[in-house]
Symmetry: D2
Subunit: 148 residues, 4 copies
Amino acid sequence: MSTDFQPHFTDIKVRGYHLDLYGHVNNARYLEFLEEARWGFTDSHGSLDYFTAAGIAFVIVNVNINYRRAALMGEELRIETAMKKIGSRSGVIHQVVKLKGTDTVVADADVTFVIFDTKRNAAMSMDGELRAMFERLPMWPAKEHKAH
Amino acid sequence: MSTDFQPHFTDIKVRGYHLDLYGHVNNARYLEFLEEARWGFTDSHGSLDYFTAAGIAFVIVNVNINYRRAALMGEELRIETAMKKIGSRSGVIHQVVKLKGTDTVVADADVTFVIFDTKRNAAMSMDGELRAMFERLPMWPAKEHKAH
Amino acid sequence: MSTDFQPHFTDIKVRGYHLDLYGHVNNARYLEFLEEARWGFTDSHGSLDYFTAAGIAFVIVNVNINYRRAALMGEELRIETAMKKIGSRSGVIHQVVKLKGTDTVVADADVTFVIFDTKRNAAMSMDGELRAMFERLPMWPAKEHKAH
Amino acid sequence: MSTDFQPHFTDIKVRGYHLDLYGHVNNARYLEFLEEARWGFTDSHGSLDYFTAAGIAFVIVNVNINYRRAALMGEELRIETAMKKIGSRSGVIHQVVKLKGTDTVVADADVTFVIFDTKRNAAMSMDGELRAMFERLPMWPAKEHKAH
């Protein structure tokens, strides 16, 4: 609950090819926006190298996304990304898409993942070094998260 | 729970451009597959004309998707689509992506929508003619749905 | 020029997620439509297995696409695909996107490719068994092609 | 040929969802990269507002793209965009995708467009104020362009 919490920020401007029939960003496109933001989150914390070296893969098992307000041509979006939960065998990343510079939420999502050991072909327990790595990532404060 | 329930079927073969870094169909692409299947579902039941004529729009407010098994190059997928729930102000479509000809579930999703009156700029109550239209669509039997 | 020439046909119906800002199928999306049609072309002639077995890859080096008429929501497109030219080190596939059941051309493209030997890391000469394989594919008659 | 020519720059980092079967950025995706860069080019020169106000649309009639080197996961691309030609009824934008910070060309494209008068439903002549607007944009020097 410290005041210095800061999620990772990714900015995207809505372009013509993001839109669909209704002139709104298409539902599927948001999942690309969220993936873009998660790669940025990963870049900022160096975990991709760790994963590649360890022969493990980040596998998404569930996405639960709320579409709260249509995003329109030319609007600037800011995606906030941070960890929400680290369980025993899975984790949850929470991502919020806002109109940049405002509190208007365009979409928000919980993205549940497992860490997969590609050699043993099985999900790994989130403990030891692996758990420590996720615990070093920015985590949504319990209170702030409830607001969504 | 009659035995003659039949969801709408949409078949898609996995192609090179559907895949990502891991050689699996990308998470975002499934939302396009699901949208494709919903348009097929709509085509089969003529509701698009009704919507256009009535000045109303189908707006998705939540997608909750489970990714259960990676889909690979050349695999044939069958998407089963039917209504799951018709609430007072929203509805839920349930969609299951299987390996065609098998019971292997690749992904399944609940897609929650509202019907939006574009003239009044507000979600409509799901009653009267509108509710009747949705009640005429195929609906997942309670039991079969639980299996997922 | 024989009357029994028949390109490969792939049918695609324009959906909401294919459209962009202008309510037209987006320029980039056509390249996915063309790729879809080439995979169908390949499926029909069994060459993918040959490629995989031989450790060779199909690599596109140029796409030259004309956008002739916007495609709109709900329109049914038919993509015609056949070989146009087999050179000494590259080949050209010509693809025409029409409104299904009409002669109206929506888009047409020349797609130039090389066959890449992934072991030697070099483009292969189009001769011997490789050339024979391409010569067995449907080829646009010189005259018909000029019409485009 | 002056030394102060500067195209518009757009930077894109290759992410997992950009890749396809071969682990390379997919052919279709480059057209989205080029569109992203053209919107940035437009943003920098304020022409979108002009277009919207004048009831005219920018319509692409041909894309001729060379794929010169596969782009891989994590690579940083820089897209250079400038005018190549202003004809009497059409124009050409030339775009070059390089590995950022190098002269390695990943792809380059000529994008031919017409300006469409949506009220008269016809392509406009590129003269008067319209031509002047395009002449104020950065233009590839004849010599530098030949290098591609």
